[in-house]
Symmetry: C2
Subunit: 233 residues, 2 copies
């Protein structure tokens, strides 16, 4: 409701085309500035310039803008370009439900205890950093949410991540694949770590990996609940 009011009060909406489309019922009569994926910095700069010129601007993000999304991009531009006229902008960030949370709620509570969230993209950080983070998460026996698991350009990273995990985590560890959360075509599937292959995911998939403690509970409909207990044994 907070976000809906904010959008209704705005004069200008900035965002990835696909996301602008998802809120088009709320943006009738407003200036919509759509852009392609992967131009987050240009998009942020446009939004800051519009806001500095007196417009009431909303930058649309999917999930939680604070988790692998637009808030960091806007602040990065604000920090690095630091135009004097941006100083007076009244910037606010509204949190939201990130993909890992919607995925978790759909199957139970796999993130119910200690967990981490790691982006598998090595476009903005070296793969060595990604790999060492996965190794540490495995060692710490944390449940893990993988964002950006794969794309048409990045095809081997998910297999590499699995190879690191499987050294310490059982092949029977529950894995949740979730796609298009909260949108038409939502898919949520529970498999095992042993079954995870690149074909399991695409760029819209978030993947949750259980810890050694994560359990399945059979449901009457043949599916399973997945949860990570609050206690550690």
């Amino acid at each position: 409701p907070q976000v809906r009011q904010t959008i209704l009060a705005a004069t200008d909406i900035v965002g990835y085309h696909t996301y602008l489309n998802l809120v088009k019922d709320l943006t009738v009569g407003k200036e919509c500035h759509g852009s392609d994926n992967r131009v987050e910095l240009d998009r942020s700069k446009l939004a800051l310039d519009l806001a500095a010129s007196g417009k009431n601007v909303v930058v649309i993000s999917s999930g939680d803008p604070g988790i692998f999304a637009m808030a960091s991009a806007v602040l990065e531009v604000l920090d690095k370009e630091a135009k004097p006229e941006w100083q007076t902008i009244d910037l606010q960030i509204a949190p939201g439900i990130s993909a890992m949370q919607a995925a978790a709620a759909a199957v139970g509570a796999p993130l119910g205890h200690d967990f981490c969230a790691i982006s598998l993209s090595d476009i903005l950080k070296p793969w060595e950093v990604v790999a060492s983070r996965i190794a540490s998460a495995a060692e710490a026996d944390l449940a893990i949410a993988f964002y950006n698991p794969i794309s048409s350009q990045r095809t081997w990273q998910l297999t590499a991540a699995k190879e690191i995990l499987i050294k310490t985590r059982s092949g029977t560890t529950p894995v949740i694949l979730a796609r298009n959360l909260g949108r038409p075509g939502q898919e949520v599937k529970v498999i095992t770590l042993g079954e995870l292959v690149p074909e399991s995911a695409d760029m819209r998939t978030v993947i949750l990996i259980g810890s050694s403690q994560t359990k399945l509970i059979p449901r009457a409909d043949g599916n399973n609940w997945v949860y990570t207990p609050r206690s550690y044994q």
Copy 2:
């Protein structure tokens, strides 16, 4: 809005007294079953029994029920006690904004890149597990959200956690202290890791610790934005 509808449709509301109070405008005329803190398993059992008897039951949780909250407790009871009459319950979990997300949004985007969430409570897991998870998170240079940092019974854990972190993370690392998020008396403060002391927090505080990449941006009002860039250098 989804959660509001769910509460309005319920006959019975189960939860911690304090949280029931926060939603009392929505629960007029419903059976409210309040209980004390720390009786999550009894509360879950009551809710499942009520639901099995044909009631439309909502278990109230703060933040996201899937993150250090009631969803795991309910599933744990469902798993371990597994009463046959519970099989037919149509259980649903509605995600929410967890404290770390509200804290992050209030100051910028400190969780904008890879991060982990760790409970400092050693009531349900040995401190050695907590300590090794903190050490791994430090080694992996993840931003960290600490839940349950301190309580009247647990007073030394926060200092122990800081001692592990400060071995590899600078004393100038930004730290966010957030209390009573989204409630009257909300407080959000940015300090440094070096300044973190047990008196900084209480049982209602969530603490965010920056990674080596987390930066401050000075604001016109004298405060700072805090963000973790999407790229890693």
